[in-house]
């Protein structure tokens, strides 16, 4: 459904996207996981035809898409990161306008608007101006607009940013349902748990590069059967991290947010040695946290930094 080939985009001195390539099959949900500023939105902008790549190509349903494409864009439903609705129009008027803009005939548009209002749970307040809506309601409408024309490819750019937990869950359920209906979904997020829950495959992006991609299991295998240990304490954390790094079972060590983050083999067995080493380095450990391997660890392994940075 979507084929991105070696996309590059530079803004002045900053190379925002450096040779990103990935594919999404029909009915597949693909996640672009990376911290803010990783290049996710720039990549999506090129996929939607909002930005022209400096080099590389985008194919949607087998047809090349550029910023000047018209018909090809009809296959895409786009949900931007920021709210993109008219606050002085009602939900129904917003949906009606975009439905007609995407070429739906008036009677079809009318029926489809009613349907989408039900999907996003706004049917009972459809006639109110959207500026009176809560943030969560506005977010749901924002997504609803992207679904109107039943796109073959739905692109959601961090749709849950700034959303309350209840609305967030509703959004995630909607995406799961759409994916189940056979829609290809490109989903960007910097929330690991969202990527793990929704995506069939995940691409890890940092500094404009696709560091790795695959299923969750494939990505986790990149860091092996390693555990993650976080040690909080007082003292020279960096020195302690360096000391731990020298231990044989330790694969990686760094200091993040006042804690020593360690990638290790068999955390439970090595934990006493880790505590002794940090103690020898002058750090008084106040808490210990052990995690099974997850995408956070993968990201740390691939980029040397935590996803939340």
């Amino acid at each position: 459904m979507l084929d991105c080939l070696d996309l590059h985009k530079r803004f002045g001195e900053v190379e925002a996207v450096r040779g990103v390539s990935f594919k999404i099959a029909e009915g597949e949900t693909y996640g672009l996981l990376g911290p803010n500023g990783a290049g996710k939105t720039t990549t999506i902008s090129m996929v939607c035809g909002l930005l022209e790549p400096d080099s590389g190509e985008v194919f949607v349903a087998g047809k090349r898409l550029t910023s000047h494409s018209v018909a090809e864009k009809a296959a895409i439903g786009y949900v931007p990161q920021e709210l993109a609705i008219y606050p002085d129009l009602s939900a129904r008027e917003n949906l009606q306008f975009f439905a007609r803009l995407y070429g739906l005939a008036p009677d079809v548009a009318h029926a489809r608007v009613d349907e989408v209002l039900g999907v996003v749970g706004l049917a009972d307040r459809a006639s109110e101006q959207t500026k009176s809506y809560s943030g969560g309601m506005q977010r749901r409408l924002n997504i609803g607009i992207g679904l109107l024309h039943r796109p073959a490819l739905l692109i959601l750019d961090e749709p849950t940013v700034g959303v309350d937990p209840q609305s967030r869950n509703a959004i995630l359920e909607s995406v799961e349902r759409l994916s189940g209906e056979g829609m290809a979904v490109l989903y960007t997020t910097h929330y690991m748990e969202e990527a793990e829950r929704l995506c069939d495959r995940i691409g890890i992006v940092d500094l404009g590069e696709l560091k790795a991609e695959g299923t969750r299991a494939e990505l986790v295998s990149l860091v092996g059967e390693h555990d993650r240990v976080a040690l909080e304490g007082v003292g020279n954390l960096q020195a302690a991290a360096d000391a731990c790094q020298a231990l044989e079972p330790v694969r990686a060590a760094s200091v993040q947010d006042g804690a020593i983050e360690l990638i290790v083999d068999h955390a439970r067995s090595v934990l006493p040695e880790l505590l002794a080493t940090t103690n020898d380095a002058g750090v008084a450990v106040s808490s210990v946290d052990v995690h099974e391997p997850d995408l956070e660890a993968v990201f740390l392994h691939l980029t040397g930094k935590a996803l939340r940075d």
Binding site: S45, L51, L83, A84, I145
Partner: protein, 383 residues
């Protein structure tokens, strides 16, 4: 075009919902036109009457000629009322207390001095509260003095010496020019109705193209750009919005001022052509200004400045072209001036062809500024 019309329809719905567009397009210009019309109605239509005092301390033939031949015709035309004051003190008091706009004082020996060809003095005591009346009085006195000088020169050329009584008395009466508004000048209701309409037209058309900045701010521009429509459709939709709002605003104001201010816009077809050309010119100028801005606030500020300067220069508040010289020439560099000139041409019951010249000028504005805007407008829909 379908997408452009959809966008224009959406924009117009938003603008109608947003009362500020209605205020700027119709209410404010109508209110201002009414206020200006009331203030300047008398002055522009020539219906004003100034009251002048006269203190004749001379009682000679030249003094009598001044009252009879210089002031008399003005009084008979209803333009002035005369009060004879017995003394200089009474005349000064009348002016000081604003009972009269000004007092003419013909001093003792005035006629004798003129008869001998010596300098004579005719005084005007003006009221500080009636500057226009004082200026009128000074003009009347100056006019009389100029005629005296003319006779002196003629007499001196014929027979060096003095001017006699008969000659002084035979000075030609001052002729009052016909300042009727029915000929070529717009009456106050029409002038301010049309002036305010075309002045605010330049603000009204902002609600089209400048909303691209709001679309960008609200994030909806991205959505429009991602939709299966051409970028030119977005721009066309915005321009249609400007044109519809501009034309509707002018049409409503033309009708409203006709009923409320008794404005005489003239031949309906001519007015329609004039309005269409004016709206095109305003939209093109404001679009060009918008292409230099980066934010909505910046666009609105710059457009307001241009609208204000063009409006003032174009004579929408005062007929600046009548000042002549550079100001009159600069005035022609504004579509507003051509619009008012076109309306001026329509007075007196002439046909629509009378507006062809001003319409051509406004279309030239539209073509030149529109072409420049076209070259720059792409940046407004760039992501």
């Amino acid at each position: 075009m379908r997408a452009a019309l959809l966008i224009a329809g959406k924009d117009l719905r938003q603008r109608l919902r947003d009362r500020s567009a209605l205020l700027i397009a119709v209410v404010v210009p109508l209110v201002l036109a009414s206020i200006f019309g009331l203030i300047f109605h008398s002055a522009i239509t020539g219906r004003v009457t100034f009251t002048f005092g006269v203190v004749d301390q001379d009682h000679g033939p030249a003094a009598q000629a001044f009252v009879a031949d210089a002031l008399g015709p003005l009084e008979r035309a209803g333009l002035v009322k005369l009060h004879q004051e017995s003394t200089l003190a009474a005349g000064r008091h009348a002016a000081d207390t604003n009972q009269v706009a000004a007092t003419f004082v013909v001093p003792v020996g005035f006629s004798a001095a003129i008869g001998r060809g010596q300098p004579a003095r005719l005084r005007v005591l003006g009221s500080v509260d009636s500057t226009i009346g004082t200026q009128v009085a000074q003009s009347v006195a100056q006019s009389y003095a100029d005629r005296i000088d003319t006779v002196r020169v003629a007499t001196a050329a014929a027979r060096p010496g003095t001017i006699n009584r008969a000659q002084a008395a035979a000075l030609a009466p001052i002729v009052v020019a016909d300042v009727s508004t029915k000929n070529r000048q717009l009456d106050a209701g029409t002038f301010y109705g049309a002036g305010m309409a075309v002045f605010f037209l330049f603000f009204t058309v902002q609600f089209g193209i400048s909303t691209l900045f709001n679309e960008r701010q609200d994030g909806t521009l991205q959505r429009l750009l991602a939709a299966p429509i051409r970028r030119s459709a977005i721009l066309t939709g915005k321009l249609i919005t400007s044109l519809v709002l501009g034309f509707a605003s002018m049409a409503v104001l033309a009708v409203a001022t006709s009923f409320l201010l008794s404005a005489h816009w003239g031949n309906a077809l001519g007015v329609a052509i004039l309005i269409l050309a004016g709206v095109l010119a305003a939209t093109a100028v404001m679009t060009l200004v918008a292409t230099f801005a980066h934010t909505s606030d910046q666009a609105q500020s710059w457009q307001a400045m241009v609208a204000l300067v063009f409006g003032m220069l174009g004579g929408t508040f005062f007929p600046v072209a009548q000042a002549g010289g550079l100001l009159a020439a600069l005035s022609l560099a504004t579509p507003q001036a051509w619009f008012l000139r076109g309306l001026d041409n329509l007075t007196g019951g002439v046909g629509a062809s009378a507006v062809f010249g001003p319409v051509a000028a406004m279309l030239a504005f539209a073509v030149v500024t529109g072409s420049l805007a076209f070259m720059r407008i792409g940046r407004l829909v760039a992501r």
